[in-house]
Amino acid sequence: MTEPLLRVRDLQTYFVTEQGSGTARAVDGVSFEVQPGETLGIVGESGCGKTVTSLSILRLIPEPPGHIRPGSVIEFEGRNLLTLEPRELRAIRGNQIAMIFQEPMTSLNPVFTVGDQIAEAAIVHQGLSRRVARTRAIDMLRLVGIADPEERVDHYPHQMSGGMRQRVMIGMALVCHPKLLIADEPTTALDVTIQAQILELLDRLQAELGMAVMLITHDLGVVAGSADRVAVMYAGQVVEQAPTAALFARPLHPYTEGLLASVPRLDAPPAREHGRLHSIPGQVPAATAWPDGCRFHPRCPYAWERCRAEMPPLLDAGGGAEPGTHTVRCWLLTEPRRRTPHP
């Protein structure tokens, strides 16, 4: 395997809560790698830590109340981002690593034209003159599929639709040709026909520009269509990690299994023909009080004593070309015959 572009090892990002009700261990020992040019999907529900993970990579966690604990490692091309000087960090952030956010409405500045906002990064990071940067902004608008870019460059965000604003966000992120794009729920706020446009655009740009993408989403359908590999997060941890095809064909963590079964699907008969949709009982616990042992055990249909007492490590599920291709944080891997739901 080639040297990874990004290596996150044992990332722990904690928040001290206001009322002193304890420490929220939002991200608690997360490790993964992103290879050059690949798309890693990070999937999970609200509160699982997926957004805090991405903000930690860019060191955008507000301190206080948050802090990244010592011992955490975030290496980009071999350099630990957590020990960089602010000046060195700024040379990477927005330049080699760029990010797009969920809310295209609030992530753009309403008092600057979209052209100015796209040009800013090129001026700051690449020292372009205003005139050259403006031309670059027009090129970016064209690249992300906005009609009449010469005219649109002088428009303000409120003059654009949600889909166009998200295209502008992507243009801003890509103006310096980053090696890694972190896309946090890039299509969640958009209608389904616009979502299809944006996903297609991201696929095309990734192929053209050869960048790696970290795609953070709650939508298993989006991941299935776009990611090469998937990491599933639950309660601040990665609970399963696998190539996309393997994860969907053979989900091994009971949470992944339950999540896949809960999604209403268009490609399967509707649940009302045979009663109920599958659902995972209970709800995600609070980050200030993760359950002991395996954090999924209170909601897990297979849990036994060991799950309540002992946190499982990421275990190798085999099946890949090399060890560690498909890993699962579940004791079932040591006792597969227990994989029969309790009555």
Partner: protein
């Protein structure tokens, strides 16, 4: 069987506001709902589907007269809703209720769950005192919450629990008809399935009739008997759910279905990516409102000039497309 809910020619236009602090020229009228008709049989669910701004929520509010419709006839439980005066309308509200999308914004943060559930019981003089307490406990249990939640405030509840409280509040007056306006859109997938199952159980147990408003076609497929698809204030296709999902006749329905991501990396689907955005409902295109984005290969001058009527193209299946006989 006669329909429990019958809507004919519903129209709601919002006047365009004047620009420049009310002094400029008035803007164009927004045709939020433009001649919408449907009926729902007792105990059945109609899924009303469309993208943001298509008018689906306005339909839900207009038939309950939470906003006043401009034209059209709405009959619920045999009563003409539009013609009712204030007092009989309030009485009819016992028969029709709504559950909102946002479980954060639709519950009063200063009331306990008990107060929220007691209020409709008092307003409609259904129960008070110990009888009300008994009913509240039973309602909470029916929606899958422990009766001890009666003491809680909304901020102490998770999104799924809040939505259950919203459902209990709607059920407290024993309605026959519920408008469910995106009731699971704000919830996580694992919680969404719980709430959908609850809604299905309640429907069976209480023989409720639902208008289920949603943007998610996959969710609607699991709960709806019939589906109506809206685009720019009009219904463009309406059919029994199995027919609509198996063989959509309007190119917009086909495109919407093809755009829904499927959680299967092996799925070999032909994805139709529509160009452009939804036009403004203040300036709908002439002819077929969908024609500027329509991917149908046969699209011609007629589509640009002549609005297609919503007509039956297969038994029970209506589509507003000149080429509904040659679907995509």
């Amino acid at each position: 069987m006669p329909a429990l809910v019958d809507v004919q020619g519903l129209v709601k236009h919002f006047p365009g506001e004047r620009a420049l602090l009310g002094l400029g020229r008035p803007r164009a009228v927004v045709r939020a709902v433009d001649d919408v008709s449907f009926a729902i049989a007792p105990g059945e669910t109609l899924g009303l589907v469309g993208e943001s701004g298509c008018g689906k929520s306005t339909v839900g509010r207009a038939i309950l007269r939470l906003i006043e419709p401009d034209a059209g006839r709405v009959t619920i439980d045999g009563q003409d809703v539009v013609a009712l005066g204030a007092r009989p309308l309030r009485a009819l509200r016992r028969r029709m209720q709504i559950v909102f999308q946002d479980p954060y914004g639709s519950l009063n943060p200063r009331m306990t769950v008990r107060q929220m559930l007691a209020e409709p019981l008092a307003i409609h003089r259904i129960a008070s005192g110990a009888d009300a307490q008994r009913r509240i406990a039973a309602l909470l249990e029916e929606v899958g919450l422990d009766p001890s939640f009666a003491q809680s405030y909304a901020h102490e509840l998770s999104g799924g629990q809040r939505q259950r409280v919203g459902i209990a509040r709607a059920l407290s007056v024993e309605p026959h008809f519920l408008v469910l306006d995106e009731p699971v859109s704000a919830l996580d997938v694992s919680i969404q399935a719980q709430v959908l199952n609850l809604l299905a159980e309640l429907q069976r147990g209480r023989r409720l009739t639902y208008l289920f408003i949603a943007h998610d076609l996959a969710v609607v497929r699991h709960i709806a008997d019939h589906v109506a698809v809206m685009y720019l204030g009009k219904i463009v296709e309406r059919a029994p759910a199995p027919a609509l999902y198996a063989g959509p006749r309007h190119p917009y329905t086909t495109s919407l279905l093809s755009a829904v991501p499927v959680p299967d990396p092996k799925a070999q689907r032909q994805r139709i990516v529509l160009a452009g955005d939804v036009p403004s409902p203040a300036h709908p295109p002439p002819g077929c409102p969908f024609h500027p984005r329509c991917p149908h290969p046969k699209k011609d001058a007629r589509c640009r000039t002549e609005p297609p009527a919503l007509r039956e193209v297969a038994p029970g299946q209506l589509a507003a497309c000149h080429f509904a006989e040659q679907p995509l």
